[in-house]
Symmetry: D4
Subunit: 222 residues, 8 copies
């Protein structure tokens, strides 16, 4: 590898400016780049979240790196270094709703990001609208949150039904779960954006991380 | 106009083969072509349905033609010549559900096509899922039909909710009602096709006519 | 795996509401999730259909799971637990037509779903319109069904020709068979939706399961 | 007009369920439909917001209707009936930022919706990133809000720059301002969704109304 | 108008190089540009074909120009100056097939271009595959041509059926006739390109002119 | 494998109807299906062309099958059974032009198909327009053919330049050679269809087989 | 009109930062907004370029405004206030090439922008590659420029041919000239981006202004 | 491999015509084709650049070939034969800016191409706009170049910010770094083309090579 690739600049000041520390999207980075960033975080004694860290890439990291990222979770493909917020400071208020079991990787990316940021957020799963009673049964629970993150693939009808039933802001995370016209998550994304229920907010497909960050920004301002 | 454009061949035998008489899509035809077809139907003493007959085009037809199409309806943009089925032979069994008032042009195209084919089909309107109680209130009514035609634009979440609540086959008609990502009806179409509720059947965007024809084909075989 | 992923809720009441029991789309689920659902079905003593169960995933299931899904078929990638409907209760009335041998995985997904739901439905294959005589030769057979499921990829011209020749409703299943402009099945889907032959009903690309469910909903109401 | 089009059901309970009263998207409705809805609101003595009410449609309404919608604003194409919130109850906290003068119709739709909902929200215009100093000059002002609504067309770079500079949640409203690859607003939409600055939330293209509703839902929960 | 727009260079030598004289696509040209080109043709004593000459543009030309283009046909929107090939030199061999009456503007553009190039080519209309007997009835006629130009919009199934029934090369001209997924002619274009019947050749949507030119190039080499 | 997949119907009569024998697109077929078709061809004592037969699939066929397809060529991924046309009957007249070495798999698919159909057709390679002299140097050769098949990926500018320089019909085969906006061959396809040089005929992306069949249909009629 | 729309901030410092003064894209602005900006420029005694100023909008401006923009050109839809650079300071070095007469509105937008910025740039028109000799005849002229702006619609093959023949950088401006697959200019844009001739630089469709600005930035640094 | 694939024609004269020697895009070529081209370069005693040479393909080359391409760099996937320009002739003036570490493969392709062409061009990395201070800190450095190549994926906001801050021409290289709506690099491409900051020039997604060539063409003319 050439000498160009070590010239990275972690934005340590981001937390002060925006309330949220920087995170590392591993998807397009080499193992060597990830390890260099991890080492810099250690030297600066900073907490740092790693997302989209595929199991095969995690396995290819050196032993020391894997130890520093010991809380790695293969379903959400997330890990962080520098410790987890201690119990007393953990905050409530953000709920996560997932249409089906296939949406859990994205929903847990949101949950893990929230954990890293000091929030305890349960995932309410399998409430797709094809069986409306499943959603209705959990409605009181869902209505208790100040912000709701909703994850759905396929046609994303959950977003509209949910937003019509709760007074909390709903952050829609379209999931790349589907085939044919819904392959890649575009159908669910468009459902979230075009919903007849006003007040839905959308992030990129599969972006559980971004939904969690936005939810925390809201709570921080509340 | 050249001499090419009068060489049309109405498929009078279609009714015998498929159970449904031919109809004329006026959208891409000139007034002269429409009048020539209408005249041929009169000479053959046949009933013939005209769809997508814009008010301005209807107004440009000759007096005799307008008289032959006296039942013209500007909302659905439909008309037919040759008489309407008499009361005793009118059949029930097909219901039409429309998400909002903006979907009524498409929903009434279906209703008028059904009327031409001998069916009495009410339109249940304004049952969009942003206010779920509106749909629930009409559910017993909707469940009484053997086939349900559902019309929705925007994100088309109605299709999934409806199909999860009824045992009748649901024919989804995406409507070109929306803007941004739902402009043209593509988002609603993809929602119908990608629905997590199995058993939804889809026709082209704004194709109330096609939905009606398919519903009648079902009933004829029942 | 985290503890989020076991919070699934099978919609056992769906059959009562919609006439069709729930099924499990395996494509985006882990082997562990599939086995947990299978176990729940066993404990509830329920029949449950699994679709898009790839041979490699099936092979990775535990021995007990594979025994419970002993009727696994690798062409259609389907299996079910809880037994097959007994002979006397098996119903006719639904025919399946496939344009070419490449369409058989999708066509057999429909056939297997119908078998699970108590229908005996033959697959009439290799009747693509490039050799029209092949379709004509089978036309009497095709016309004998109350509902016809048609599977075609490439340009999907079969849908239009078929719908012009039969009075039964035609459910078009576009297949992801093709390359260039027809890669992924979008050209066949658009042909089904835009057909000049009215009365064609469409499901998502490769959705043989959905076509079968819709056909049964029709027959149940007939 | 047929008798179908009067069967509308205003969701008067929506405010109780979601904190936001229903509004009427006039874009796909006829003048007769709009007047009927307006009359129903008058009879129910309710406040009701009308969006996308084009000047030509407004001008075609009857005199009484125009009087009831006397606060009509042609730039934002909005009006409401039933009175405006009185001074003491007007709330602050939501700021609106517009990249250029071409984005003002969308930005004012948001501002007017907020006014209807009881908020006073200034529009900070002409802060596009091609001249970064314009944004920097207004940064203290922008940072004083608890929620920021940002409107931008073309390539939508404003969203990313803004989100990196403020700790408030940013709601991006892509505007259909542009030509070539940015015609229709899709490029700006994708910039908002794909931003490297985490925590941006997006609504549909030109949906100033939806952004305002979401912002109020946030504030209501704060 | 500035002085730039008169610097055109008609490619008079094209006929020698390619067998086909240059033609003028009027769609994106001003009336002044069209008149300047027409005048240049007159001065050079050349025959020149004008396509996509809308009736309103033709009407806005000066009297002298309209006289020079006296054979203007508003259905095909074509005209030419410099005379028509005399009877004895007119050649046969190219047939034109149109699926429906809506396809006649495109079909007649091909027929008129062929007339300009010295061919007599009949248009066989209304042979869409929804009523297959109409095509079968004309099959002997169609099979008598050395090249067949086929025009169809909607789903374009005609192309595949036709190519499976004749040994002549088939040039498919997708027509922008349709709505929803077939709006603009893209569905028909993809059907032509993806056909299961090999040997179909395609030109751009609505390009009756290009199809005629290609057919003549074939005949010239036969 | 179920019993459905052996119900194929080779269209042996296609040669009589269209002048071209049927061929087998192997891309979406299993090895078992290919072998069954090959066996049927052997029993019927027919020649049969196999296209898109990937090396790995060919290697997985049984020894007998591989012997029957001994002329397998891995670059074009083609093979045929039943013998090659003998020297005296081999016909000239069709030339193949390829923009670059990356286009050779598609160009050789055309050349091999032509060989199967009794034509000797050289491939003139590496004549992309970025170095126009390469094309000019071969122009006399290219102009000697009665039909020219041109293969190009990337932006496909070769098609326009070639069609402006020769009086033979040009069949454009867009190749899926490129990345970014030209990934998949769509940019080259659109260049062929939208060319300013009239008379270009297009087939699907990578469809060297279809181009060869169309060229032979032309020659057969010449 | 509300009071929001006058809060514009012209970036007068842009020229110092980037070498190019700000310009006003009129396409999405109201006449009132344009007049307000024009007045501000007058008060600041600044030169200011207006692009995409449609004739109908220009005609609707007040008399004073039209006088200030007396050099308005309806073909390029451009005007500027504050005077034109005097002869001695006018610079050469940038050439403009247009494929056809239909491309002249875009080509003259570039030429007029260059004139505003102090450059004399001729437009070499009608050199499309369908008649290659037209381009070759002008090649010495074209090769004399230090930067070449090339404008082409349809399939945009001109870009590749030109870039292979000159050592100057080529700025491609795709024009929205075409129909079917080239409608809107996307095919030409993709040809420019995917060209096999390296070194082509692209701007947005129809963006003659942007091409001129980029060319001047180059010259300024030379 | 057949005998077609050796008929390549390296355009050795390209350097004389365009100032830039030909290069070989390895992505769609076989190892045998690459080795044949390399051998021809050796025999002609020419320098030749190879791009998109994947590590696995490089490893599969013969020992002699690998020795001739000993300067192979796996990050940029580039190599060249025939020696590197000597120190005294190396030129400055072109700077490369990369938004993040994920963009380094594309940025180094540009840097390596420039090295091959005799330029020393540093890569300034990790200056994405989410942390604007990182870009500002390097602004003096960036402003010192005569041409700036900017590489960014995701939403590509860097292009607009950069172009508003420097007077050098900016060549934008969109990188295929992103997921969901930015997968493949299309969102970044559209941001570059639609930028509100005039004077940005764009090349194809991931085309670091093309950006370098264009930059050298500029410098050569300066």
């Amino acid at each position: 590898m050439s000498d160009f690739d070590n010239d990275f600049q972690i934005d340590w000041e981001r937390e002060r400016r925006t309330g949220i520390p920087e995170a590392v999207l591993c998807a397009f980075k080499s193992a060597a780049q990830i390890e260099a960033i991890l080492k810099a975080a250690g030297e600066a004694d900073r907490r740092l979240l790693f997302t989209r860290l595929e199991p095969s890439v995690f396995a290819s990291l050196g032993e020391e790196s894997r130890a520093a990222l010991a809380n790695y979770d293969p379903v959400s493909r997330t890990a962080w270094c520098g410790g987890t917020p201690a119990e007393p400071s953990i905050r409530p208020g953000i709920g996560i709703v997932a249409a089906g079991t296939s949406d859990l990787p994205v929903a847990t990316e949101a949950a893990r990001t929230l954990e890293f940021l000091g929030f305890q957020s349960p995932v309410i799963a399998d409430v797709g609208v094809a069986g409306l009673w499943r959603l209705m049964r959990r409605l009181d629970d869902i209505r208790s949150y100040r912000v709701v993150i909703a994850v759905a693939g396929m046609e994303g009808a959950l977003f509209s039904v949910l937003a019509g039933l709760t007074d909390a802001p709903v952050i829609a995370v379209p999931a790349s779960v589907g085939y044919g016209v819904s392959a890649g998550g575009m159908a669910a994304l468009h459902s979230a954006l075009a919903s007849c229920a006003p007040g839905i907010l959308t992030v990129n497909i599969d972006n559980g991380f971004g939904a969690a960050v936005a939810a925390v920004k809201m709570i921080n301002k509340m």
